[in-house]
Amino acid sequence: MPEIRVTPLGAGQDVGRSCILVSIGGKNVMLDCGMHMGFNDDRRFPDFSYITRNGRLTDFLDCVIISHFHLDHCGALPYFSEMVGYDGPIYMTHPTQAICPILLEDYRKIAVDKKGEANFFTSQMIKDCMKKVVAVHLHQTVQVDDELEIKAYYAGHVLGAAMFQIKVGSESVVYTGDYNMTPDRHLGAAWIDKCRPNLLITESTYATTIRDSKRCRERDFLKKVHEAVERGGKVLIPVFALGRAQELCILLETFWERMNLKAPIYFSTGLTEKANHYYKLFITWTNQKIRKTFVQRNMFEFKHIKAFDRAFADNPGPMVVFATPGMLHAGQSLQIFRKWAGNEKNMVIMPGYCVQGTVGHKILSGQRKLEMEGRQVLEVKMQVEYMSFSAHADAKGIMQLVGQAEPESVLLVHGEAKKMEFLKQKIEQEFRLLPDAKKPRLLHGTLIMKDSNFRLVSSEQALKELGLAEHQLRFTCRVHLHDPRKEQETAMRVYSHLKSVLKEHCVQHLPDGSVTVESILIQAAAHSEDPGTKVLLVSWTYQDEELGSHLTSLLKKGLPQAAS
């Protein structure tokens, strides 16, 4: 019995601080190493002391795998490797390796420079940490050591997001990270082959949601922007620098292209430029359309989208501006918002969720007068729109992935406990008969390993070579039949009955009174005590198990009343 032990250090039944320990076949693997956005104390990082109280983690962990660059999946990495101490390999995909340090650096800046935290990891630590990273390609099987191997699958969600299969011997685990089963404007859908793992660890953010077609959402979004621009209004779209921002950029860029629109689109600078650069580079990780057309033009070489300058906000005429951060709580997006809020022609589109207390949340809940710092009151006359663009798989998507991978068991993480309960029930109900990966098959050939070379031979030949005698496994079964007639006649009746029922098989009546169906032997004998009952002895080999059991069940039903 394979033993796979899973310990979530974070994101077990909540979201954030993803960190899961898996022990499989004597190997320990850590999946993701994230931080929690909601905490500013020690709770923001996973509790690594669970692994070991003293001594370096390297001795206890065989490898660390990072699924994608979101901070709740990689945010604790420098802390873990440099401050706690880990020198083993860290696996991630190439885009993640490229973008991850940018985000970590940004995170560090906000924590240290803005909030003034001490005892935080430094830039050098990030660099040192990234040196331990081993980048992997999609579908590349990486041999971590002699026994442990990992393989990455495409996951959608964000650029470079991957699902990982971890395999030791015949046991395997698939960890999905975050994934998306519906393609969007810049990324494809998650895909996995029928790898039949022992365990599938899947996220379940939207365990109880089935989402509407994304087309309606996109259409609405474009229509809103288009109308506002035609009116001569300015459109503000507060976004986080990576992920959705690029999707929306592509969406607007292609729309501008198609409709021949002239209004400028700006993207607030900083982090984004670097990130966009990586999006341009990692074309193979994007969706079909971008992959197919990049020879003519890389879709991320935006024609209509230019870098934003603070002075542009006062320019006359329509424009669209993407600005960070996404919840309008600080920074450039808030500045622009304050400038534009007074004009009813303008519009702000919130493309994602806003935490309570932020300006974004306030205006979304309909507040029209905002108190800003210094007792100023800002009247919001501009239109406020909400549009949800999310890149997690919904309940149907999760089920689809489970169906694709055909795991023996499923573990739900990264979601709310109550919602998981529902999904658990659904998975149990719909995959009741989880396909048995190791279901018995007939032996077709034998692989002989001798003198360090392999040979594939037929099983008969293998037996002969090895000097083994074939071991026959035979099942026998007695079926009692109420029939006062002689054995011979009973056999005859059985014969004619089977002959009429089993048309597809070769039924023969042998001269010694027994009946054969293919290789199955049926003999009739009188019962020792009751002469009115005949005992039918049915015997078949293991290879004919299916037919044999069918036959016995057939005989147990009894023979039809003799017509004559």
């Binding site: 519906t182 393609p183 404007r185 494809g188 859908a189 895909w191 996995i192 082959d193 029928k194 109880t208 949601t209 089935i210 989402r211 509407d212 077609s213 994304k214 087309r215 309606c216 959402r217 996109e218 259409r219 609405d220 474009l222 229509k223 809103k224 288009h226 292609t254 292209e257 198609r258 409709m259 021949n260 969706n287 079909q288 359309k289 919130m350 979304l364 809940s365 309909g366 239109q383 406020v384 729109e385 909400y386 549009m387 309940a395 149907k396 089920m399 689809q400 169906g403 694709q404 919602k419 529902f422 029930q425 659904k426 719909e430 077709h444 037929s458 597809e504 070769c506």
Partner: protein
């Protein structure tokens, strides 16, 4: 006759010097044929190593083998096969055997025994597979021979147990292609067992090798294609294969399920794990829908495609495909589509979006939610959102087909189709617009839907906009606001893309005539009339104003109250537009004006039509004149031609037939005239000048016959014969004219030779039609052929001349449907006074936009010709992708033509026109051996001549000298 002919040739072998050379050449050709097998034999014997032998075989395979010598070659090959030890050579021989047995005119049953024989002794799996392939070729060549088929099937069954997947594959293929449903008793030991092909193939559905499983399913499909009814039991087996690990198996299984569902749509199958039962077609539909979310896109495309053709599925299941049952945190949520509909019906459409607008409503019973096994549920929602555009296109196509057969489904899928107008791939957008047009009879657009549709009018792709115009032509709009919206958007489109002018006008024409009552209340606003004041007269040349007028006038056609709302200048503008744009502006019954009606009732079928009768009668009249005096014949012909031409102008639906027959009559007239010439009577030295007329006539007849053959669509074989016959007569005319005008015998030899070859060619091509040509020129000519072959050129000319004079006029049977190919160049318009300036030596791109009507296979036939003022002509072959097909019989050519020239001092005009390229050799049947070879492709593409079929357009260009 050929044999007879040959004998004569040999008899007179020594008489004519020139002919001797010719004959030797032909003789040589004949001699090479039997030596083919001998040469191969020598080659193979020479071969020292297997590699050598392989080389020889490869070389041999490049050349065709005639049917007579196939058998010899096969013997040699087999002989060598037995001796050969190298499997790769045996493989090549086996494949050659297969190829040879496909030769036309060769009956392969004689090599079958050998093939089966060597099959039994063969050890190599690859060679075995190839041999089975050869047997398959033999079997397909002899479809009637039951005994052979049965034998081959037996062979295949025997090898099914082979360990190599390749052999099993081929066996299954063989079974699929040759296996018959009739049960045959096997000869071998099993004795009583009955062999059923379907059962045997079915057993391999569970083979361990996925390739064999695929082959088994394919074989089953092949059986179906050959007309054998598959058993219903296969359905369950196929369903199991849907969860196979390999995509090609799943893909084939989906096909098989579809086939079975079409065979037994009404049988009842149980739903597993419940007691319910449903129709098989519904069950299959559910299963195929499930495959739309398969892991492999190949399977998804296949599944999405097949969904479209399952029309028997019950509507309940069908509508599920569009329903995804949204929920959020276990509460039921309405889709955006439902919300849009509600907003619309509640009348507060313009409300902005609020946060939480889509807040989930009622709680859902957790037990009732089915996340996967709901079968059809949301299949199209998934298909339309797929990552691969191939899948999306397939889904759109399937939607189209299903919607065409079910109006209620059409109404429901509208929202989804409208959403597809925003797809990222243009092809998908275009496809969905076309789809929408096809189902537009069944639907009426809501205003919010119309809004989305109209938004696409700003698309920068011309194809998309034009497709959308076409769509608007046939959509039903529900409200007057809708019409107004459409008009406003179309006018916006017009200002943004002025080149769309014609397409927009046409679109408004249909929009107006479809919705007269909705246009009526809009008229004052559109014409900006005022009850008390006179408003300024709009500019008549403004395309936007014309667009509005087109809409109004077409609506006014069926709405008699509308003209009362017009102001004076509107009437004036009407009169102007009616003349200048008569195809867009209908005749109106206006007060104080007489309606000039061109009342053509379209209901009359062409055969009852008096004009059709007239056509028939006038043609019959012409054909009945056989013995009229020459003068009378000419006059009658001239009259009839004039009649026909006029008829063609009046009756557009008869134009094709009338033109076609008129052209034929003109040819005849020219021929008669040429033969009436005086030149035949005067002495040789005097007719030099006059012969111009006759040779010009011959040339013209040739041209006209080419036009008749290639410019009309719907010309059948019986017409082609007559046309070729006319051409032959023209060639005869040419021959005799040249014979009279040239001195000396030498050039005549060649001409005679060529002419006789033509006759021979005619005979070979139309041997089946010769009986219809009784008493004709060619008939008589063929009778005298042996004599002609041996005569001197002067005699030949004499004979031909007399026969040409005696020959009768052949009756041209009228084809059912015939249309003349025509083309109009829309762009360049040829109006510009500003020359197109470019530096000499460099190129300038000229956009050419043309509509083609009734052109068959325009991709290979239509060319663009550019004529420069210095007489230089350039022919440009447009790319196949430059042709679009907006409707049956219509094509659109949008291409760029590159012009270049040396420097000019003045700007000057170049002419651009379209040509129809033809090649009369394409009718010659080809031998199967050469098929796919390099030679044939060259023949295909060569152009024999061209016919101009559009008016030429002048373009003003100015190549400037390059500056240093």
């Amino acid at each position: 006759m050929a044999a007879h002919l040959k004998k004569r040739v040999y008899e007179e072998f020594t008489k004519v010097v020139q002919q001797q050379q010719e004959e030797i050449a032909t003789k040589k050709l004949r001699l090479t044929k039997p030596s083919k097998s001998a040469a191969l034999h020598i080659d193979l014997c020479k071969a020292t190593s297997p590699a050598d032998a392989l080389q020889y075989l490869l070389q041999f395979a490049r050349k065709p083998v005639e049917a007579e010598s196939v058998e010899g070659v096969v013997r040699i090959l087999l002989e060598h096969y037995y001796k050969e030890n190298d499997p790769s050579v045996r493989l090549k021989i086996a494949s050659l055997l297969g190829l040879l047995s496909k030769t036309a005119g060769f009956s392969p049953d004689c090599i079958m025994d050998d093939a089966i024989n060597i099959l039994q002794n063969e050890k190599s799996h690859q060679v075995l597979a190839q041999l089975l392939d050869t047997l398959l070729a033999i079997g397909t060549k002899l479809p009637e021979n039951q005994a052979i088929q049965m034998r081959l099937v037996d062979v295949a069954c025997k090898h099914l147990t082979d360990t190599s997947h390749g052999v099993r594959n081929k066996c299954l293929q063989l079974l699929g292609n040759l296996g018959s449903l009739e049960k045959s008793v096997t000869k071998d030991g099993e004795g009583l067992a009955v062999r059923d092909v379907q059962k045997i193939i079915g057993d391999y559905f569970s083979d361990q090798d996925p390739r064999v499983r695929t082959a088994a399913i394919k074989a089953m499909l092949q059986l179906h294609e050959r007309g054998l009814k598959l058993h219903q039991t296969i359905y369950n087996q196929a369903c199991k294969l849907l969860s196979d690990d390999y995509e090609q198996v799943r893909s084939a299984a989906v096909q098989l399920i579809w086939v079975v569902s079409q065979l037994y749509p009404e049988s009842i199958v149980p739903i597993p794990s419940s007691n319910e039962e449903i129709r098989l077609v519904d069950d299959a539909f559910g299963k195929i829908c499930h495959m739309v979310s398969d892991g492999s896109w190949v399977v998804r495309v296949q599944a999405a495609k097949l969904l479209g053709s399952m029309e028997q599925v019950s509507s309940h299941f069908l509508e599920q495909t569009l329903d995804k049952k949204l929920m959020s945190d276990l509460r039921r949520k309405r889709t955006a589509h439902e919300r849009a509909k509600e907003l619309y019906s509640s009348g507060e459409f313009s409300s902005g979006r609020k946060w939480g607008d889509d807040a989930p409503k009622e709680e859902i019973d957790t037990g009732a939610v089915n996340l996967i096994e709901s079968g059809a549920c949301g299949a199209f929602v998934h298909g339309l959102e797929d990552e691969m555009y191939e899948v999306r296109i397939a889904a759109v196509e399937a939607l189209c087909m299903l919607a065409q057969s079910s109006p209620s489904f059409a109404e429901k899928c509208l929202d989804f189709l409208v959403d597809m107008f925003n797809d990222e791939i243009e092809e998908v957008r275009l496809q969905s617009i076309h789809t929408m047009r096809k189902i537009s009879n069944n639907i009426t657009l809501r205003e919010d839907q119309l809004d989305t549709v109209l938004a696409v009018l700003e698309d920068s792709s011309r194809d998309i906009r034009e497709a959308l115009h076409e769509l608007l032509c046939c959509t039903n709009v529900s409200t007057k606001e809708g019409i107004h919206l459409a008009l406003v958007e179309l006018l916006k489109n017009l200002t943004k893309y002025p080149t769309d002018r014609d397409s927009i006008w046409k679109c408004l024409k249909f929009l107006g005539s479809r919705h007269p009552t909705l246009v009526l209340p809009l008229v004052p606003e559109l014409l900006s009339t005022h009850p008390f004041f006179d408003t300024a007269e709009p500019d008549m040349d403004d395309p936007a104003y014309i667009a509005v007028l087109v809409l109004i006038f077409n609506a006014a056609k069926t709405c008699p109250t509308m003209p009362a709302l017009f102001s004076d200048h509107t009437f004036r503008h009407y009169a102007y537009l009616r003349d200048s744009l008569s195809h867009l502006v209908p005749a109106l019954r206006l007060p104080g004006r007489k309606l000039v009606s061109s009342a053509v009732s379209a209901n009359i079928t062409p055969h009852e039509d008096p004009s059709h009768q007239f056509l028939q009668q006038s043609l019959e009249r012409v054909y009945s004149l056989q013995h009229l005096d020459p003068q009378g014949t000419q006059e009658l012909l001239e009259l009839t031609i004039r009649d026909l031409q006029r008829l063609g102008e009046l009756q557009s639906e008869l134009a094709g037939v009338a033109d076609f027959s008129a052209t034929y009559l003109r040819c005849q007239l020219l021929l008669i005239k040429a033969l009436q010439e005086k030149l035949w009577n005067v002495a040789a030295p005097l007719y030099l000048k006059q012969s111009d007329l006759a040779s010009a006539a011959a040339k013209q007849i040739m041209e006209e016959t080419y036009k008749m053959e290639f410019m009309y669509s719907g010309v059948e074989n019986k017409q082609v014969v007559i046309i070729h016959h006319m051409r032959l007569q023209a060639k005869a005319l040419q021959l005799i004219v040249t014979a009279r005008t040239t001195r000396g015998v030498d050039p005549l030899f060649g001409m005679c030779e060529k002419f006789l070859q033509e006759v021979d060619f005619f005979q070979r091509c139309f041997i089946a039609d010769l009986p219809h040509l009784q008493d004709s020129f060619v008939d008589k000519l063929l009778d005298l052929m042996p004599r002609l072959m041996t005569s001197k050129p002067v005699e030949v000319v004499k004979i031909v001349q007399t026969m040409l004079r005696q020959s009768t006029f052949l009756h041209l049977p009228l084809p059912e449907q015939i249309h003349k190919a025509s083309a109009t160049i829309i762009e360049p318009a040829g109006e510009s006074d500003n020359p197109l300036r470019f530096t000499s030596g460099l190129v300038v791109a000229l956009d050419v936009d043309a509509t083609l009507e009734h052109v068959q296979d325009p991709q290979s036939t239509v060319k663009v010709q550019v004529l420069y003022p210095d007489g230089q002509a350039q022919m440009i072959h447009p790319k196949p992708a430059d042709f679009r097909n907006p409707g049956p019989g219509r094509h659109r050519l949008i291409t760029q033509v590159y012009l270049s020239h040396t420097a000019w001092t003045e700007p000057c005009q170049v002419e651009v026109r379209l040509l129809l390229a033809y090649n009369s050799n394409s009718r010659i049947p080809k031998s199967p051996w050469i098929e796919g070879g390099e030679v044939s492709s060259q023949v295909e593409t060569s152009i024999e001549g061209t016919i101009p079929f559009s008016k030429s357009v002048k373009v003003y260009i100015m190549p400037k000298p390059a500056r240093r």
